[in-house]
Symmetry: C2
Subunit: 461 residues, 2 copies
């Protein structure tokens, strides 16, 4: 278990003086780093809605530089006097108040944004990988300089989960956050569910339609979702959860048979990022974040999220169940989130004040995956003779795991046995499956899937 001992660097949210407001009428100077799909759309919308944005901010804004790696490629599309390939100089320039990062990657934008923050610029970034890996360092720099660090677009693009967790639910206690936060994998799983086709065929379809990249690894293996899980858990539990703390499994081993079996049982399979607060047998409170394919009842609001849509489901002590649904990726939705952040950060430059930032005061221990409460759905071929069920049940009973449902079907010459457990420790469940595999009564463990269950969270207990 990695209990973070980072109290020293954790922002306490303690009072820092408000940012000094700019002189009235003095435009907020903006630097845009990157001119890809999102950067272009941000620039276009800023130009198109110039008057509206000025009203909403309470003062004018002005784009004063656009940094790209190759000026030749963007010449014509960006006014010549704005174009630069020297991002490091741009972010520290006197006339820049606000730096907007839409480049991607980790190391290079990290250096740029730290330089910007250290120079007293507020920062808006859409970079989930960077935030998941280095939020603490960036937040510390923002705190030290008394400026803002916004990253709404880093999770689920236009779905305002960051603002919701930071502000709207700031008076509540969040018990769990479960989300479909990767559009590519949701497209593939939804297509498998509705057509019955194989993973490989639907991955190919996603590629053909532009929903999956040429190298789809980051999406299909869950790495992208894991970055978002780290960010969501950090915000929800006021505890720093890093990318490396997130247990991560992708969807590439999900078969058409898994989907068909789920369907028969009134369920579907979604790749969920699950962030939970739970109390362990030792009585201590832990948080955890994980990403894995998950069986979920078709009755659950998350189950009906189709195509490449994203959704985030929250359970909070007082608010109860909330869900937020929308476009989780794409140039326009990402630009919408970036622009919302620009308005917020620019408002604070105009009016003074600071947005709520990283706040890891709770500093709860982040549980190793083995300790996390999960539920298993196990599909096996077993030999067809008396006493098999009793023998296999013993593996579970020995570890104090109770079975919720047991279904046995005759097949030709052997039997199919489907076990659904109640909630237990992940490591105990995993050990049971190892035991099952070694049993001579088990011909094959066909599939092991975790079940989504509100039984996991404290909200229900």
């Amino acid at each position: 278990m990695s209990t973070h001992e980072n109290t020293a660097s954790a922002s306490t949210g303690a009072a820092a003086a408000a940012q000094k407001a700019k002189a009235p009428g003095d435009p907020v100077g903006i630097a845009i780093l990157g001119h890809g799909t999102v950067g272009r759309e941000v620039l276009r919308l800023m130009e198109q809605h110039r008057d509206a944005l000025e009203h909403r901010i309470g003062g004018p804004i002005e784009v004063r530089g656009v940094a790209v790696s190759d000026k030749e490629k963007h010449r014509g599309a960006v006014p010549e006097e704005l174009l630069t390939d020297d991002a490091m100089t741009l972010v520290q320039r006197e006339d820049i108040d606000l730096v907007v990062e839409v480049i991607g990657g980790i190391d290079y934008p990290r250096r740029l944004l730290l330089a910007a923050l250290n120079a007293g610029k507020s920062v808006v970034t859409a970079n989930k990988a960077l935030v998941a890996a280095h939020a603490d360092e960036l937040a510390a720099a923002a705190d030290a300089a008394n400026v803002d660090l916004y990253f709404e677009a880093a999770v689920a693009a236009a779905i305002p989960v960051v603002g919701m967790l930071r502000r709207s639910l700031a008076g509540d206690q969040i018990e769990s956050v479960s989300g479909i936060v990767n559009g590519t994998t949701n497209f593939i799983l939804d297509a498998m569910d509705s057509t019955g086709a194989s993973y490989d065929d639907m991955l190919k379809e996603a590629m053909d339609l532009g929903y999956a990249e040429a190298d789809p690894t980051a999406d299909v293996e869950g790495h992208d979702a894991a970055s978002k899980a780290a960010i969501l858990a950090s915000l929800a539990f006021h505890t720093r959860v890093n990318y490396d703390d997130v247990h991560c499994e992708g969807i590439s081993s999900i078969t058409a048979e898994d989907i068909a079996a789920a369907k028969l049982a009134g369920q579907t399979i979604k790749l969920l990022a699950i962030c939970e607060r739970f109390r362990d047998e030792d009585g201590k409170e832990y948080v955890s974040a994980r990403v894995h394919p998950t069986l979920i009842s078709r009755e659950h609001p998350l189950a009906s999220v189709d195509k490449s849509y994203n959704a985030v489901f929250v359970e909070a002590e007082a608010a109860g169940r909330l869900m937020f649904y929308g476009n989780g990726a794409g140039g326009d939705p990402t630009a919408s989130a970036v622009l919302g952040d620009i308005v917020g950060a620019a408002r604070n430059k105009v009016h003074g004040g600071r947005a709520p930032g990283e706040n890891t005061y709770a500093n709860l221990p982040v549980a190793d995956f083995g300790r996390v409460p999960t539920r298993y759905h196990i599909d096996m071929e077993v030999v067809d003779r008396v006493g098999v069920l009793a023998e296999l049940s013993t593996f579970f009973a020995q570890r104090g795991i109770s079975l919720k449902t047991v279904r046995q079907e005759e097949l030709n010459g052997h039997a199919r046995l489907i076990l659904v457990t109640h909630t237990a420790r992940e490591e105990d469940l995993a050990s049971c499956v190892e035991d099952l595999k070694t049993s001579e009564s088990v011909r094959a463990v066909k599939s092991v899937l975790r079940l989504y269950s509100e039984e996991n969270s404290q909200a229900e207990s």
Copy 2:
């Protein structure tokens, strides 16, 4: 048409100086007005999460007074030294920084909150009727005193629609907001849909289960939803839309037959608050807000919102389609929203700065209902003879209204004719229905329902 000419009083969002931050460590003094279901829960949660709230705010808060109308009734539940029946004195007291209003009603809380704002206190209110009727006056007082006016709980309780429209989508252009914003009517319509029962029976059930009040008028006739529609439209379009601007029809005339017919057509009936931006034939841009029972496809995310849940569906230019779902009423969810606002307002007292407030710079004309684009679903009994359809179609053609679908069924001796129109002006559609009623070919117009259609909004056109 009521084009508001309220530019003078409209807040422009122009820079006001930041609120002065309190001295470090000096608690934010809070007055709670009201100690009913919500007030009690707010107090309980503030006590239970005292440490967490202090961390999130960045400084301590202290409840310094609870105003009730009858002290005897609350003695014991509230510390004696906090209890007062003189709310007017409390809200102006030197040691109060923030006034939280959870009384309800209009005139009395209006006087209290204006006094509080004029005395330089920030205000958090859960009072939709008050905000829908007097947001402009309250916002002007908050602007003049340079303090905050928060009202997240006034619309859909714990679903953070106010924050989402004010902040998260602040960089986007909102085309439409459509919501199920009244839990009572959604419970009744959902129960009618799933059981086939009558309106009266399901209203009685809602009363028995505590989902409807003894006098359900405000809910079932749509008045509650209309207040929320006014607030949503004002926020979405940066234009003051008042309660009186909202066209409002309730659900009491919806029959089991209407629901059954909707079901057959793959639809259901929801009471929707619909706020839209549209361009009229005159080329001018208008906004509108209305509440009425609406036929909606079962495929639409709003159709699956069951029981007493609320949901708000937003279409924005860049963000695309977003939906927010959750508990729209009840003590706990309302308290969650109130507490989120308390954290925000207290943060600004601690750190300085001001939240985005009323901002009606766009000041678009609010269209009379007759001008609004709608679609009709008309169910009639007509005489069964040649030429009837041609005759009745003429009523529509004369007004330039095209029919999307026409379905004719033989009944014994006469015919049933179901017409679904494309989008047209409400007043033209209504005139057509009047014409149909006078035609000798029409035996009875059985039902006229408006259809939810994304065809109405500019997003699709």
